[in-house]
Symmetry: C2
Subunit: 296 residues, 2 copies
């Protein structure tokens, strides 16, 4: 994929220092994209493990590695907490008294309700928290596998609260646009309901189909066509990561699962009754929805 080296848009508030804490695949990609697209004059990074800090120090997309999270954020205009979803708030609290007045802090966690509320509470009114969630990823993990093109044309949710500072919100949305993402601004609760349906539920279906097939004759797998492979690709994702995401979004995920089970029940019931008209209608409704997904 080609990366555009577009300069920062004229109407975008300039970011002098961007700090990325605890970079993995997403954080490593953000640093590369920010460098390639001139999103910040200076990029400072902190990672928990000293060997990671040493490796990152030599990268062209890193101007300085700090020894502590506090030191990394002290002169930052924008701080990205790129840690896993359950580690975001502890890190925000850790840096709360170290950030400069008016600094903006964001994250990249997959669940936003608790993070948006607690991030705001930890920083306000001296600094600002604006949650974000880029819908981009890979089966590969780790900052080494990052790519400057990861966010190109991908949705990035930005999830302000009603009391979120408007200037801070503009800085975060502008930053993601420079990185190539299509920004969707939605309330944290709405975000969590959306991803429960379009991301967490598909993950649980793919995983449960595979763990179900794990109990069958292993020889069956070698007969599988492309259909099963596509349907289950995301079941190859990291179980520890998904455990945490589902934990953080359990309320919305339970509702989505319960309602989905009713839909699957309608299929089962049509098959049990031998009502093939009803089954075809259900499958057609699904095909039409899939068609709309293809067009987008």
């Amino acid at each position: 994929m080609k990366t555009q080296h577009a300069p920062a848009a004229q109407d975008h508030p300039a970011i002098d220092q961007l700090t990325i804490l605890a970079p993995g695949l997403i954080g490593g990609s953000m640093a590369r994209a920010a460098r390639a697209r001139h999103a910040a004059r200076r990029i400072v990074i902190w990672a928990r493990r000293s060997e990671v800090r040493r490796s990152i120090a030599g990268q062209p997309w890193c101007d300085e590695v700090a020894d502590t999270a506090e030191a990394a954020v002290r002169t930052a205009d924008l701080v990205i907490v790129a840690a896993p979803v359950d580690k975001v708030i502890p890190l925000v609290r850790q840096i709360a008294s170290a950030v400069q007045e008016g600094a903006v802090v964001s994250d990249v966690g997959s669940v936003k309700g608790g993070i948006a509320r607690e991030g705001h509470a930890a920083l306000s009114p001296r600094a600002h928290f604006v949650g974000s969630h880029p819908m981009a990823g890979s089966e590969k993990t780790g900052w080494e596998n990052g790519s400057a093109a990861l966010f190109e044309s991908r949705t990035c949710f930005v999830t302000p609260l009603p009391m979120t500072d408007r200037k801070a919100l503009r800085l975060v949305t502008g930053f993601w646009r420079i990185l190539g993402a299509k920004v969707a601004t939605v309330a944290p609760k709405e975000h969590d309901r959306i991803v429960a349906h379009i991301s967490h539920l598909p993950q649980l279906l793919a995983s449960s189909l595979c763990s179900f097939l794990a109990g069958k004759d292993p020889a069956w797998l070698k007969f599988a066509g492309r259909g099963l492979r596509d349907t289950t690709r995301i079941a190859g994702s990291n179980p520890g990561l998904w455990r945490t995401i589902i934990d953080q979004n359990k309320g919305e995920v339970r509702v989505a699962l319960r309602n989905y089970r009713a839909e699957l029940g309608a299929y089962e019931s049509a098959i049990a009754r031998g009502d093939w008209e009803a089954l075809e209608k259900l499958i057609s409704r699904g095909r039409d929805c899939r068609g709309r997904l293809r067009e987008l």
Copy 2:
């Protein structure tokens, strides 16, 4: 994809005339592959609609188009009934008295229990029925979209009954190998149980996820990442075709669905209890199974 133009293997019983009845994507691909790989000296085709017969008459992979199914099979060594799964047996019965003594008839239907039994009953002992089911396809349908490479390295099930003629079985398995497929010889009942799990269940999950999402805010779809797209790709398949497949395999599909629902229930229950250890174990079990699928 490159097509190997391999001559027929030495130990393979020679096919003088191959007849394909009612070709769609699969039948059209078989004719192309048979020509490219010299699987038969002569290829005769019959299609129900006269305009299709006229179009096919000009194709390089067709030596003769017959006006009736009976005329098409009269001097054939191997007849492939490439009709949809619910039209196979009516066509086999229609040609039963027209085929020559010792002729072999096969099909390409996705469900095999009833077809294997009724196909045998319709032809035996004068001629032989050996069911087959290539695990190959495309979202595109129709003979025009066929490809000589469609079966390369794909599984093709061949499903003899205990009383199936061994020479007829060898002819059919040899034919599929010449077309590039990896042949899996299994009993019809076993075939139907396997495909209920690795093909029909994934189809119903993809379709039901999409018909479920069809009832949600249409704007949500535009936020979807690659995960949802892959997981639901097969939901774009033909509803009328799937209605018939599920109808024909309803016994095995109902068992697979019921047991899968218990697996999904284990996920729901772990989430409801907040038992994240249990959830991670389930997801890990799925990931390991997906890993084995990738290696195959």
